[in-house]
């Protein structure tokens, strides 16, 4: 064949074996790592594995900013909520600047979680109108003292250890004439009746035990209808049932009286609560501290904002005059009473503490709730997708089948068109596929990458992009052969130019993927990530695998001699006779010096 006059091979052909060895070692190492780490399959996204995916968008209220700190706090709360449901592997992530994606893998609790997550993180202090243990299993084995202990200020007077185990409220108060097991139920109806009566106003004077009628809430809760409804709700409420619990405080407006559930030492209590007296946003700060002086153990200290301090002083002033349980206020987070401390005196000055026989975690958790509840971000549900595992699996199946068919078509096309060269292409595609799979598997545990349906699409589309690079290179080589070069110099000469083209166009692809990844959220992001990843891998594969392999193969007789099936047969490529260079070196204009159409 054509004798290369200007063999550039010597310098450019440097050690193809080394690159090949390098990438093979990398593949082996990565694959080994994959098997060692035990994550041998990519983590499947919610749309493939089944489950529920909820996208929430933050809304700024009251001039509060949507910033990273607020978003992170919100993620914390939601995480606590979904994982508090016992849902394993639920994940909550921020996405973009103002979105939170909650993925709940398939499981029975997804609907409940959806409700929990979807509701706004709102905390209110509401006066307790009545409360009692709820449900058949109100087995509160602990005597009342401790039962209220976790939620009420350290009782100064000795806790009445009367083992009237069914009641909670009465015991801690020093004077508790009313609280008998029977009176509880009546107290409720009394309270509600009082609600309905038009003269609730001056709750002021400490009423004698009998009828704990007057509540400050009455006027707000509307007519007797509302009261009746509330009473019916209260009677029907069974806090041991999760559905009842979830529905209890749902959709409550701050101004309404509500029924709610709360847990005190493993026993559920139900409450009737008045309108919100203090908003959670008015808690400036809450923290758990260990009280060394008073020896009262762990307690939660709250600092209120100025407005909050005033309201808190008012409500505590009123509550302090009342009888148990109406001297308590319920701290309600998302419709659930998280704590119901009682009040001894009006608390002015905007500082308050809740003490009791807290364990450290309890105190910290309550402090967190108080802080979190004060979070000024509320969220709007943007989309909820539930996918059954069956459907997801089907889609994945179809996606993989489509990928396989697409790949097969590409391979057929390459074989028909490039013949022997297609071996190089197929080997490169194979390497690319292995690397993509292994890296995706490893990225699952590393950065929580989950393969979702759009990502599968991205990977399939990437077959085309990867094949593009080979085509650019192959066509270059063939052009060089057409120029009359023999294979080895053609392979080397074609490389720098093909390399530049590949880099430039891959850069554009990568730029598109990067911009999409940064700007967008959710599905689009997964797609962009896959596209970016495969573009990078394309460069790696072409540089460290395709090119060295080509160099090696160019030494084989089959290819070098331009066998009919090699895809590099100079005759059928229409090569010109061997180069007879004239004075000009291979300048770019002169390089592919063909007769142009006249």
């Amino acid at each position: 064949m054509a004798a290369p006059k200007r063999g550039r091979s010597a310098s450019a052909q440097s050690k193809p074996g080394r690159s090949l060895a390098l990438i093979l070692i990398a593949i082996v190492a990565l694959t080994g790592g994959m098997f060692l780490s035990g994550h041998t399959t990519p983590r499947l996204g919610i749309d493939l594995a089944g489950g529920t995916s909820i996208t929430l968008k933050a809304k700024a209220d009251q001039g509060s900013a949507i910033n990273k700190a607020n978003m992170d706090t919100a993620v914390d709360i939601m995480n606590r909520r979904v994982n508090g449901l016992g849902v394993s592997e639920a994940e909550v992530q921020t996405q973009g600047t103002d979105n939170i994606i909650v993925n709940i893998p398939k499981g029975t609790n997804s609907k409940e979680a959806q409700e929990q997550v979807g509701t706004t993180a709102k905390l209110y202090f509401r006066p307790v109108l009545a409360s009692e243990p709820s449900g058949a299993a109100a087995k509160s084995p602990s005597p009342s003292a401790s039962s209220s202990g976790s939620s009420s200020p350290k009782p100064s007077t000795s806790p009445s250890s009367t083992a009237s185990s069914k009641e909670k409220a009465s015991s801690t108060g020093s004077t508790s004439p009313t609280a008998s097991a029977t009176s509880q139920g009546r107290a409720v109806s009394d309270a509600l009746k009082a609600d309905a009566t038009p003269s609730p106003s001056a709750s002021g004077s400490g009423k004698p035990s009998g009828s704990p009628s007057a509540t400050p809430s009455a006027s707000a809760s509307g007519g007797s209808n509302a009261a009746g409804k509330l009473q019916a709700q209260y009677a029907a409420l069974d806090c041991t049932k999760p559905t009842d619990r979830a529905n209890a405080g749902k959709n409550a407006k701050p101004g309404d009286s509500i029924v709610a559930c709360g847990k005190v030492d493993d026993a559920w209590y139900k409450y009737v609560l008045g309108p919100a007296a203090v908003d959670g946003t008015e808690v400036k700060k809450a923290q758990a501290v260990f009280d060394t002086q008073g020896a009262s153990g762990w307690q939660v200290q709250m600092t209120f904002t100025n407005g909050g301090a005033k309201k808190f002083a008012d409500i505590t002033g009123e509550l302090a005059k009342k009888q148990p349980p109406q001297n308590e206020f319920g701290i309600v987070l998302d419709g659930e009473v998280v704590s119901s401390p009682y009040v001894r005196t009006a608390i002015t000055g905007g500082q308050a503490e809740i003490s009791g026989s807290f364990k450290q975690e309890e105190a910290q958790s309550l402090a967190n709730m108080l802080s979190y509840g004060a979070l000024p971000l509320s969220f709007q549900e943007q989309s909820v997708t539930t996918v059954t595992a069956a459907l997801g699996g089907e889609q994945l199946h179809a996606g993989l089948l489509a990928g396989a068919i697409g790949l097969a078509l590409v391979v057929i096309y390459l074989v028909v068109y490039y013949r022997g060269l297609s071996i190089v292409a197929m080997a490169s595609l194979l390497v690319s596929a292995i690397l993509t799979y292994v890296i995706m598997s490893l990225l699952g545990p590393a950065i929580n990458f989950a393969l979702n349906l759009p990502a599968v699409c991205g990977a399939i589309v990437a077959i085309g992009i990867t094949a593009d690079s080979f085509i650019v290179y192959f066509e270059r080589i063939r052009d060089e052969i057409r120029e009359g070069r023999s294979l080895r110099p053609a392979v080397e000469r074609a490389w720098p130019r093909a390399r530049r083209t590949i880099l430039v166009s891959d850069f554009v692809s990568f730029l598109a993927a990067a911009v999409l990844f940064i700007v967008t959220v959710g599905k689009v992001q997964g797609f962009a990530f896959t596209l970016g990843l495969t573009t990078l891998l394309d460069v790696v594969v072409v540089f460290f695998f395709t090119k060295p392999l080509m160099t090696l193969l160019a030494r084989r007789k089959f290819f070098a001699d331009g066998h009919k099936w090699s895809g590099l047969d100079p005759k059928s490529l229409g090569a010109k006779p061997p180069l007879r260079r004239t004075r000009r070196p291979a300048g770019p204009v002169a390089g592919p010096a063909d007769p142009k159409e006249a």
Binding site: P454, V589, P592
Partner: protein, 366 residues
């Protein structure tokens, strides 16, 4: 060798070629016509926005439903009080779309539907979206598009030159217009999946364009040092030279997408796979077209306005006129004779041109 291989060889040798640049006016016309049609389609018919953009719910049943579409529609209307759209998918499952319902309602509707359809509610997949979700995705997409365009124009202007950057941008806008136009005209549903597909076209359409530009840049590096070809000629040769590659890459890119489209659409019916692959398919085809027929001719057009190129064109034309008078030596002569003769002899016989050429040479050589 396959026929296409021969075509490649003949294209390479220049035995055959299509005058893309020379006939650019025709293709501009075609493109303008398509664009106008697309814009008219958008204006008149508008886009068929999917449920993600209006809010609502999509319920998908498992495969093998015995319930008929009409019956399911009746159930859905009854359960929701809204008009529903029910489609039967390729695999026998039903896709029930109900627009304008919110989260609270959907749960109830789901239960009710499941009961009516005799299904376990767990098996009824629900895709529930607020009205602003699609809008948000679309807004982010536009944002991404704008950022990407700015960055890519900057990049191309640096890597190549501003004319190419502009031409690439025009081609890109052209692709997007055509794709959305087809969506409007045919009435395909626009979903977030469609948006994803559309965004992918960005990178891909440019990939093709960039490959042609790369070859063009390389071949026109020393263009002012010869008088045989005008910029347009070389641009045309670049297109023809990369034509086989363009065809190959487009085919190879379209094959997997076609697979997705066929599998996604044929077996699973509407869904993410289908949405993405449909817009990709349309966009890829438009992208291949625009990189060949629009982007490169546009570069040539812009480039020919440059004084240096104008001068070159003049010289080339003058020389060709002369060569024509001397009979078509070029046709019979070998490459080398051909190559040597015009480049050297041409200028020599034309003092004016030579002088001008010489004057420019130092500037052009860096």
């Amino acid at each position: 060798m396959s026929k296409l291989g021969n075509l490649g060889a003949r294209l390479h040798r220049g035995e055959i070629s299509y005058d893309f640049v020379g006939k650019r006016k025709v293709w501009y016309g075609v493109s303008i016509l398509i664009t106008i049609t697309a814009i008219l389609g958008l204006a008149v018919r508008g886009l068929n926005m999917g449920i993600e953009f209006q809010g609502g719910a999509v319920f998908t049943t498992p495969t093998k439903m015995s319930t008929s579409v009409a019956k399911a529609e009746e159930y859905a209307n009854e359960a929701s009080g809204h008009q529903s759209v029910v489609q039967k998918l390729g695999n026998g499952s039903l896709r029930i779309q109900i627009a304008g319902i919110d989260t609270d309602q959907s749960d109830r509707i789901k239960q009710e539907l499941a009961k009516d359809l005799n299904l376990d509610p767990e098996k009824l997949a629900a895709d529930l979206v607020g009205p602003s979700w699609g809008e948000q995705i679309a807004n982010k997409a536009w944002e991404g598009l704008a950022i990407f365009m700015i960055l890519v124009v900057i990049y191309l202007a640096i890597a190549f030159e501003w004319r190419m950057a502009i031409a690439a941008l025009v081609a890109l806008i052209h692709d997007i217009t055509i794709t959305t136009g087809i969506y409007a005209l045919v009435g395909f549903e626009v979903t977030p999946g469609t948006v994803i597909g559309l965004l992918t076209i960005l990178g891909y359409s440019l990939y093709d364009t960039v490959v042609v530009f790369d070859s063009l840049k390389e071949q026109t590096k020393d263009i002012t040092k010869q008088t045989r070809w005008t910029y347009s000629d070389i641009a045309n040769r670049s297109i023809n030279g990369t034509l086989v590659r363009s065809i190959n890459t487009t085919v190879v890119a379209l094959l997997p997408v076609a697979g997705l489209l066929f599998i996604g659409g044929g077996f699973l019916g509407a869904g993410t796979l289908n949405d993405i692959s449909l817009s990709l398919f349309v966009g890829l085809a438009a992208g291949a077209y625009s990189s060949i027929f629009i982007a490169t001719p546009l570069v040539a057009d812009l480039k020919e306005r440059e004084p240096a190129m104008k001068a070159l064109t003049k010289r080339v034309l003058a020389k060709r006129a002369q060569a024509g008078a001397e009979e078509d030596l070029a046709d019979r002569g070998g490459d080398d004779a051909d190559e040597a003769a015009p480049a050297v002899v041409g200028p020599r016989s034309q003092p004016a041109a030579r002088g001008r050429g010489r004057g420019r040479t130092p500037g052009k050589r860096r």
